[in-house]
Symmetry: C2
DNA sequence: GTAACTGCAAACGCTTTGCACTCCC
DNA sequence: GGGAGTGCAAAGCGTTTGCAGTTAC
């Protein structure tokens, strides 16, 4: 999606286009993992020295309402933001909390088999697999 | 699982058996949905008038460490506690937050197909489907 | 021009922590 | 008897809210 499409989505839904919102979205899609609000805040400070954490939360909430990102709540610590709203698996390291997306073969077909039996229409989904990433399981051995 | 088995699990892991911990666990398995710490607190007050919210959190944390329950974190509001740690689907109403378990046909087989392709061994999983429950979608029509 | 947004700070809600007292083993 | 657990209150932390000043349109 280019910036023009993004502008149109914002405006069609009555939201103004601001450099802060664009920066948050573009930062999210530039990352392979799924950062927290605070990580986004720290990353954007350099280019947007006056940006505030409140604005990060506001931008994330707008992007979520527009269906452009998914918010992932966890037991401990802060929420993580995933710019991918399609059916996919979140691989979550239970030690360091790093998250990346995973697309098993035939996932869509398998997921259809699961949702076909429902009488209702899902509005969204979340599939997590918890494990220990390579970095963390190597540290355990040391 | 009867209370004797539960006693053994606690003791084997160096935790003491207390009436509060048993009450929290037994309350959880008595429910079809997945309550929050505060709901558990309010439900147990009657039989345990002096129980505190801190103790509820302590008990839940012990039960989670023993692998007897799963803690489900969400974006908004409080965590929910699920006494079912097997592979299953959490049906989450996005309006009222009610959660109940769902077992699609062949879920285990389908899940195996997804996890078989992994090089690592998962330590756990979470599958949510978001929707609007009957009660909430009826309220929308009124 | 004006309604929406930003930045800042204060408030909020859920959860954890600290500590004296109590209870399990 | 001793250490872990409880109950209570205070603190902690991520997130939301309120408001004056600013910006998109």
């Amino acid at each position: 999606m280019d910036d023009q499409e993004l502008y149109a989505i914002f405006r069609k839904n009555g939201y103004k286009v601001t450099s802060q919102r664009l920066a948050v979205y573009n930062y999210l899609i530039s990352r392979e993992d799924h950062p927290s609000a605070d990580e986004i805040f720290n990353a954007l400070k350099e280019e947007h020295p006056t940006i505030s954490l409140g604005t990060i939360y506001n931008s994330l909430s707008v992007l979520r309402d527009l269906g452009l990102i998914q918010e992932l709540g966890f037991n401990e610590g802060s929420s993580r933001y995933d710019p991918n709203t399609e059916v996919h698996v979140n691989m979550v390291c239970e030690k360091c909390g790093e998250i990346h997306d995973y697309y098993p073969e035939f996932l869509e077909t398998l997921w259809e088999k699961i949702t076909n039996s429902l009488e209702i229409t899902p509005t969204g989904q979340r599939i997590d697999i918890y494990y220990q990433c390579e970095k963390c399981s190597n540290q355990m051995k040391e």
